[in-house]
């Protein structure tokens, strides 16, 4: 019905694409750019599996239209290890077995990245608040909290 040309920078790379007005950002990333690290979880804005950074801020990409990201800088989980080498946070998740079923991991990593950018030495309480938007069906999140603590050098 209405197509729009949008230009976005994703993980430092420029893309220009035609998108329908109704396309959600998460589908644009996955289907149009083939960046399938960003997951569709609940698709209702609750689970945070689709979290990406939009101009440096953590957002849920299932609650944004792709066309709204026109001109924005995006970071997805693929951008955390551009050369295929895990970054400090990812290594900490690996070392501390920081996963539940694993489906939430990309979103957890982006929320943790955002948290540490805002607050480099968070307390446990602050970490738990920071990943509040990524709580899915599992429980505990103990190892994820440990991994983020370790990544912050504490």
């Amino acid at each position: 019905m209405s197509d729009h040309t949008i230009g976005v920078s994703v993980n430092g790379e420029r893309y220009e694409r035609e998108v329908e007005g109704r396309k959600l950002l998460v589908h644009f990333l996955r289907d149009d750019l083939d960046l399938t690290g960003t997951h569709v979880g609940c698709d209702t804005g609750n689970c945070g599996a689709c979290t990406v950074l939009l101009d440096g801020r953590a957002v849920k990409s299932c609650m944004l239209l792709a066309v709204q990201a026109d001109g924005a800088d995006l970071t997805t989980v693929e951008g955390l290890a551009p050369d295929g080498e895990l970054n400090t946070l990812q290594r900490a998740f690996s070392e501390h077995h920081g996963l539940q079923c694993g489906y939430c991991t990309p979103g957890m990593l982006l929320s943790a990245t955002y948290l540490l950018a805002q607050n480099p030495k968070p307390t446990e309480e602050e970490i738990r608040r920071g990943i509040q938007g990524n709580i899915c069906r599992c429980t505990g999140y103990v190892n994820i909290v440990r991994a983020i603590t370790a990544a912050s050098g504490q």
């Binding site: 007005g21 953590a58 957002v59 609650m63 509040q132």
Partner: protein
Amino acid sequence: MLLSELEYARPESVEDAVKLLSREDARALAGGQSLVNVMKTRVASPELVVDLNRIDGLRGIRAVDGALEIGAMTTYSAIVESAEVAAARPILAEVARTIADVQVRNRGTIGGNVCSNDPTNHFPPLAAALGAELTIAGSDGERTVGAEEFFEGVYLTAVKPGELLTSVRIPAKGGARDGWASVTLGKEGTGIVNVAATVSNGTARIAIGCVAATPVVVTASADETAVADAVRAAELDPPGDVHASAEYRRHLAEVLAARAVGSAT
């Protein structure tokens, strides 16, 4: 989820937005943290989505003689992080900080919160307790309404088709003390009952959310018994659901009103 087909417009001025919104099938898109989800379920299927995110004049917080002028498109995160809010009316930041989660706070806006007027939203009772004034732009210019006139019903406000909320004015605190108390589904989840209160010269102005279509405003002398009595006298008729019976919500309204007044600072 694939949304219904839609037309997307991104005006850069309030005038252009108002023109677009005069179309009957148009909806304003603020932070999108509610609207996009209801579009997924087809509860709303606007043919024209008017994205307000590029109207610079709708963002920002200004302190004017102790009062705050908050642009409708100001995000919860901006309110949480604002030095002006911290100095003038910190309750706004304290409450905004408990809305949903950080991703939602990075997109969701004060204007979207009051205009959607879901009875469980945080800002309607807070705006009502603090005596907020809301400015609405239309094709004939601007008008300003008080919070009590603004909230008209469930999902209904004084903002009519072809109109747009532009700013929320929060009066100067003066010597008042502000408080908030709520019981939620899970920590900082959806409100079962929300109460905002402001205490000035020994009188508490209390606004109760989640118990009626619009915030219920009660005034009482600022002591616990008087507050609980005044809430009881309001004869609330709240909804009951799987989370809380009507009776329990009535009980919470009394307890939380006393707590909001008692903890006001």
